[in-house]
Symmetry: C2
Subunit: 139 residues, 2 copies
Protein backbone atom coordinates (compact mmCIF):
# COMPACT_ATOMS: atom_id res chain seq x y z
CA UNK A 1 0.00 0.00 0.00
CA UNK A 2 1.36 3.39 -1.03
CA UNK A 3 0.76 6.45 1.17
CA UNK A 4 -1.85 8.94 0.10
CA UNK A 5 0.67 11.79 0.16
CA UNK A 6 2.94 9.84 -2.17
CA UNK A 7 0.11 9.25 -4.65
CA UNK A 8 -0.74 12.93 -4.47
CA UNK A 9 2.82 13.81 -5.45
CA UNK A 10 2.67 11.44 -8.41
CA UNK A 11 -0.43 13.17 -9.74
CA UNK A 12 1.11 16.63 -9.30
CA UNK A 13 4.33 15.49 -11.00
CA UNK A 14 2.22 14.32 -13.94
CA UNK A 15 0.59 17.75 -14.12
CA UNK A 16 -2.74 16.50 -12.77
CA UNK A 17 -4.42 18.45 -10.01
CA UNK A 18 -5.23 16.01 -7.21
CA UNK A 19 -8.90 16.62 -6.59
CA UNK A 20 -10.72 14.48 -4.04
CA UNK A 21 -12.21 12.29 -6.76
CA UNK A 22 -8.99 11.91 -8.70
CA UNK A 23 -6.98 10.98 -5.65
CA UNK A 24 -9.58 8.42 -4.58
CA UNK A 25 -9.69 6.86 -8.04
CA UNK A 26 -5.91 6.86 -8.29
CA UNK A 27 -5.57 5.27 -4.86
CA UNK A 28 -8.08 2.62 -5.85
CA UNK A 29 -6.33 1.50 -9.03
CA UNK A 30 -2.92 1.65 -7.38
CA UNK A 31 -3.93 -0.49 -4.41
CA UNK A 32 -6.29 -2.97 -6.08
CA UNK A 33 -4.59 -5.30 -8.52
CA UNK A 34 -7.86 -6.71 -9.72
CA UNK A 35 -7.89 -4.90 -13.09
CA UNK A 36 -11.20 -3.13 -12.42
CA UNK A 37 -13.48 -1.62 -15.04
CA UNK A 38 -14.64 1.99 -14.71
CA UNK A 39 -17.92 0.67 -13.38
CA UNK A 40 -16.26 -1.36 -10.64
CA UNK A 41 -14.26 1.67 -9.52
CA UNK A 42 -17.46 3.71 -9.55
CA UNK A 43 -19.36 1.21 -7.41
CA UNK A 44 -16.50 0.94 -4.94
CA UNK A 45 -16.05 4.69 -4.47
CA UNK A 46 -19.53 6.19 -4.73
CA UNK A 47 -20.21 5.30 -1.08
CA UNK A 48 -16.77 6.28 0.20
CA UNK A 49 -16.95 9.69 -1.43
CA UNK A 50 -20.16 11.52 -0.77
CA UNK A 51 -21.13 11.49 -4.44
CA UNK A 52 -19.43 10.45 -7.63
CA UNK A 53 -20.35 10.44 -11.29
CA UNK A 54 -19.59 7.54 -13.59
CA UNK A 55 -18.56 10.12 -16.16
CA UNK A 56 -15.92 11.42 -13.77
CA UNK A 57 -14.53 7.91 -13.35
CA UNK A 58 -14.29 7.44 -17.11
CA UNK A 59 -12.73 10.86 -17.66
CA UNK A 60 -10.29 10.46 -14.79
CA UNK A 61 -9.11 7.01 -15.81
CA UNK A 62 -8.60 8.26 -19.36
CA UNK A 63 -6.60 11.15 -17.93
CA UNK A 64 -4.40 8.72 -16.02
CA UNK A 65 -3.91 6.49 -19.06
CA UNK A 66 -2.94 9.44 -21.25
CA UNK A 67 -0.47 10.57 -18.58
CA UNK A 68 1.04 7.10 -18.47
CA UNK A 69 0.10 6.55 -14.82
CA UNK A 70 -2.29 3.68 -15.52
CA UNK A 71 -2.51 0.97 -18.21
CA UNK A 72 -5.61 0.38 -20.30
CA UNK A 73 -6.29 -3.29 -20.95
CA UNK A 74 -8.41 -4.56 -23.83
CA UNK A 75 -7.84 -8.24 -23.14
CA UNK A 76 -11.58 -8.76 -22.84
CA UNK A 77 -13.29 -7.67 -26.03
CA UNK A 78 -16.49 -6.56 -24.31
CA UNK A 79 -15.11 -3.97 -21.88
CA UNK A 80 -12.00 -2.03 -20.93
CA UNK A 81 -10.26 -2.47 -17.64
CA UNK A 82 -7.43 -0.71 -15.91
CA UNK A 83 -4.16 -1.63 -14.26
CA UNK A 84 -2.38 0.67 -11.83
CA UNK A 85 0.79 -1.34 -12.29
CA UNK A 86 2.63 0.20 -15.24
CA UNK A 87 5.68 -2.03 -15.07
CA UNK A 88 6.14 -4.47 -17.94
CA UNK A 89 4.17 -7.66 -17.40
CA UNK A 90 1.79 -9.96 -19.25
CA UNK A 91 -1.90 -10.58 -18.59
CA UNK A 92 -3.92 -13.76 -18.57
CA UNK A 93 -7.71 -13.83 -18.85
CA UNK A 94 -9.55 -16.97 -17.78
CA UNK A 95 -12.24 -17.95 -20.28
CA UNK A 96 -14.14 -19.68 -17.49
CA UNK A 97 -14.17 -17.27 -14.52
CA UNK A 98 -13.18 -14.09 -16.37
CA UNK A 99 -10.46 -13.24 -13.88
CA UNK A 100 -7.44 -11.33 -15.18
CA UNK A 101 -4.11 -12.36 -13.69
CA UNK A 102 -0.69 -10.70 -13.86
CA UNK A 103 2.20 -12.76 -15.17
CA UNK A 104 5.89 -11.97 -14.97
CA UNK A 105 7.94 -11.89 -18.13
CA UNK A 106 11.52 -12.99 -18.57
CA UNK A 107 12.66 -10.15 -20.80
CA UNK A 108 11.31 -7.17 -22.68
CA UNK A 109 8.42 -7.77 -25.08
CA UNK A 110 10.28 -6.12 -27.95
CA UNK A 111 13.18 -8.55 -27.72
CA UNK A 112 11.12 -11.22 -29.44
CA UNK A 113 9.74 -9.16 -32.33
CA UNK A 114 11.45 -8.95 -35.71
CA UNK A 115 11.54 -6.04 -38.12
CA UNK A 116 10.92 -3.18 -35.73
CA UNK A 117 13.34 -0.84 -37.51
CA UNK A 118 11.65 2.50 -38.16
CA UNK A 119 8.83 1.85 -35.73
CA UNK A 120 8.49 3.98 -32.63
CA UNK A 121 7.00 1.76 -29.92
CA UNK A 122 5.14 3.50 -27.13
CA UNK A 123 3.19 0.62 -25.65
CA UNK A 124 3.25 -3.16 -25.56
CA UNK A 125 0.72 -5.68 -24.27
CA UNK A 126 0.93 -9.45 -24.15
CA UNK A 127 -2.45 -11.06 -23.62
CA UNK A 128 -2.88 -14.76 -22.88
CA UNK A 129 -6.24 -16.50 -22.64
CA UNK A 130 -7.35 -19.96 -21.59
CA UNK A 131 -8.24 -21.71 -18.33
CA UNK A 132 -6.70 -20.68 -15.01
CA UNK A 133 -5.36 -23.26 -12.51
CA UNK A 134 -8.30 -22.77 -10.14
CA UNK A 135 -10.95 -23.38 -12.82
CA UNK A 136 -8.94 -26.28 -14.21
CA UNK A 137 -8.92 -28.06 -10.86
CA UNK A 138 -12.69 -27.65 -10.56
CA UNK A 139 -13.43 -29.51 -13.79
Amino acid sequence: MIARSELKKELINAGIRPSVQRLAIYEYVKSHHTHPTADVVYDALRDVLGSLSLTTVYNTLKLFVDAGLVQLLTIDDTFRCFDGDTTSHAHFRCDSCGRIVDLKIKSDFLAMVDGLGGFEIKEAQLYLKGICPICKRKN
Copy 2:
Protein backbone atom coordinates in the same frame (compact mmCIF):
# COMPACT_ATOMS: atom_id res chain seq x y z
CA MET B 1 -4.45 -16.50 -52.85
CA ILE B 2 -5.99 -19.80 -51.77
CA ALA B 3 -8.41 -21.63 -54.07
CA ARG B 4 -12.11 -21.43 -53.30
CA SER B 5 -12.40 -25.22 -53.15
CA GLU B 6 -9.63 -25.36 -50.58
CA LEU B 7 -11.35 -22.77 -48.39
CA LYS B 8 -14.57 -24.73 -48.71
CA LYS B 9 -12.84 -27.83 -47.42
CA GLU B 10 -11.48 -25.92 -44.45
CA LEU B 11 -14.96 -24.82 -43.46
CA ILE B 12 -16.36 -28.34 -43.80
CA ASN B 13 -13.48 -29.76 -41.77
CA ALA B 14 -14.32 -27.27 -39.04
CA GLY B 15 -17.92 -28.46 -39.09
CA ILE B 16 -19.21 -25.30 -40.73
CA ARG B 17 -21.57 -25.60 -43.65
CA PRO B 18 -20.14 -23.52 -46.51
CA SER B 19 -23.04 -21.30 -47.47
CA VAL B 20 -22.55 -18.66 -50.16
CA GLN B 21 -22.22 -15.92 -47.55
CA ARG B 22 -19.88 -17.86 -45.30
CA LEU B 23 -17.57 -18.82 -48.11
CA ALA B 24 -17.44 -15.25 -49.39
CA ILE B 25 -16.67 -13.89 -45.93
CA TYR B 26 -14.09 -16.59 -45.32
CA GLU B 27 -12.42 -15.92 -48.64
CA TYR B 28 -12.34 -12.22 -47.85
CA VAL B 29 -10.58 -12.53 -44.50
CA LYS B 30 -8.20 -15.15 -45.83
CA SER B 31 -7.11 -13.11 -48.83
CA HIS B 32 -7.09 -9.60 -47.35
CA HIS B 33 -4.43 -9.06 -44.73
CA THR B 34 -5.77 -5.66 -43.79
CA HIS B 35 -7.37 -6.71 -40.50
CA PRO B 36 -10.87 -5.61 -41.50
CA THR B 37 -13.74 -4.89 -39.14
CA ALA B 38 -17.11 -6.60 -39.67
CA ASP B 39 -18.32 -3.40 -41.26
CA VAL B 40 -15.48 -3.32 -43.79
CA VAL B 41 -16.20 -6.92 -44.79
CA TYR B 42 -19.89 -6.05 -45.12
CA ASP B 43 -19.22 -3.06 -47.36
CA ALA B 44 -16.85 -5.07 -49.54
CA LEU B 45 -19.18 -8.01 -50.05
CA ARG B 46 -22.69 -6.54 -50.17
CA ASP B 47 -22.21 -5.64 -53.82
CA VAL B 48 -20.44 -8.86 -54.79
CA LEU B 49 -23.15 -11.01 -53.27
CA GLY B 50 -26.63 -10.03 -54.27
CA SER B 51 -27.60 -9.11 -50.73
CA LEU B 52 -25.93 -9.43 -47.37
CA SER B 53 -26.85 -8.52 -43.83
CA LEU B 54 -24.42 -6.96 -41.42
CA THR B 55 -25.80 -9.35 -38.82
CA THR B 56 -24.72 -12.27 -40.97
CA VAL B 57 -21.20 -10.86 -41.14
CA TYR B 58 -21.03 -10.48 -37.36
CA ASN B 59 -22.45 -13.96 -36.77
CA THR B 60 -20.24 -15.58 -39.36
CA LEU B 61 -17.03 -13.98 -38.15
CA LYS B 62 -17.87 -15.00 -34.59
CA LEU B 63 -18.45 -18.52 -35.88
CA PHE B 64 -15.02 -18.53 -37.52
CA VAL B 65 -13.33 -17.16 -34.41
CA ASP B 66 -14.97 -19.79 -32.19
CA ALA B 67 -13.86 -22.47 -34.63
CA GLY B 68 -10.29 -21.16 -34.52
CA LEU B 69 -10.25 -20.32 -38.23
CA VAL B 70 -9.88 -16.58 -37.71
CA GLN B 71 -8.31 -14.39 -35.02
CA LEU B 72 -10.20 -11.65 -33.23
CA LEU B 73 -8.03 -8.59 -32.54
CA THR B 74 -8.79 -6.06 -29.81
CA ILE B 75 -5.67 -3.98 -30.35
CA ASP B 76 -7.83 -0.93 -30.97
CA ASP B 77 -10.09 -0.34 -28.01
CA THR B 78 -12.88 1.20 -30.07
CA PHE B 79 -13.63 -1.68 -32.45
CA ARG B 80 -12.86 -5.33 -33.11
CA CYS B 81 -11.10 -6.47 -36.23
CA PHE B 82 -10.30 -9.82 -37.72
CA ASP B 83 -7.25 -11.60 -39.04
CA GLY B 84 -7.48 -14.61 -41.33
CA ASP B 85 -3.87 -15.46 -40.54
CA THR B 86 -3.94 -17.70 -37.48
CA THR B 87 -0.21 -18.36 -37.36
CA SER B 88 1.66 -16.87 -34.43
CA HIS B 89 2.61 -13.26 -35.07
CA ALA B 90 2.48 -9.89 -33.36
CA HIS B 91 0.43 -6.82 -34.30
CA PHE B 92 1.35 -3.16 -34.39
CA ARG B 93 -1.24 -0.37 -34.41
CA CYS B 94 -0.13 3.08 -35.51
CA ASP B 95 -1.47 5.80 -33.21
CA SER B 96 -1.30 8.26 -36.10
CA CYS B 97 -2.83 6.51 -39.14
CA GLY B 98 -4.59 3.66 -37.33
CA ARG B 99 -3.12 1.02 -39.63
CA ILE B 100 -2.57 -2.43 -38.15
CA VAL B 101 0.59 -4.19 -39.29
CA ASP B 102 1.72 -7.81 -38.91
CA LEU B 103 5.10 -8.40 -37.31
CA LYS B 104 7.09 -11.60 -37.23
CA ILE B 105 8.20 -13.02 -33.92
CA LYS B 106 11.41 -14.87 -33.16
CA SER B 107 9.90 -17.60 -31.00
CA ASP B 108 6.68 -18.57 -29.30
CA PHE B 109 5.00 -15.96 -27.10
CA LEU B 110 4.87 -18.34 -24.15
CA ALA B 111 8.63 -18.76 -24.08
CA MET B 112 8.99 -15.39 -22.43
CA VAL B 113 6.34 -15.73 -19.73
CA ASP B 114 7.10 -17.00 -16.23
CA GLY B 115 4.87 -19.01 -13.94
CA LEU B 116 2.57 -20.62 -16.47
CA GLY B 117 2.40 -23.91 -14.59
CA GLY B 118 -1.23 -24.98 -14.19
CA PHE B 119 -2.50 -22.57 -16.82
CA GLU B 120 -4.03 -23.92 -20.01
CA ILE B 121 -3.23 -21.40 -22.74
CA LYS B 122 -5.55 -21.34 -25.74
CA GLU B 123 -4.70 -17.99 -27.26
CA ALA B 124 -1.91 -15.42 -27.21
CA GLN B 125 -1.75 -11.90 -28.60
CA LEU B 126 1.14 -9.46 -28.59
CA TYR B 127 0.02 -5.91 -29.32
CA LEU B 128 2.44 -3.07 -29.96
CA LYS B 129 1.41 0.55 -30.42
CA GLY B 130 3.22 3.69 -31.45
CA ILE B 131 4.14 5.43 -34.70
CA CYS B 132 4.71 3.50 -37.91
CA PRO B 133 7.70 4.23 -40.23
CA ILE B 134 5.51 5.95 -42.84
CA CYS B 135 3.93 8.37 -40.38
CA LYS B 136 7.27 8.96 -38.72
CA ARG B 137 8.84 10.07 -41.99
CA LYS B 138 5.98 12.50 -42.63
CA ASN B 139 6.53 14.41 -39.37
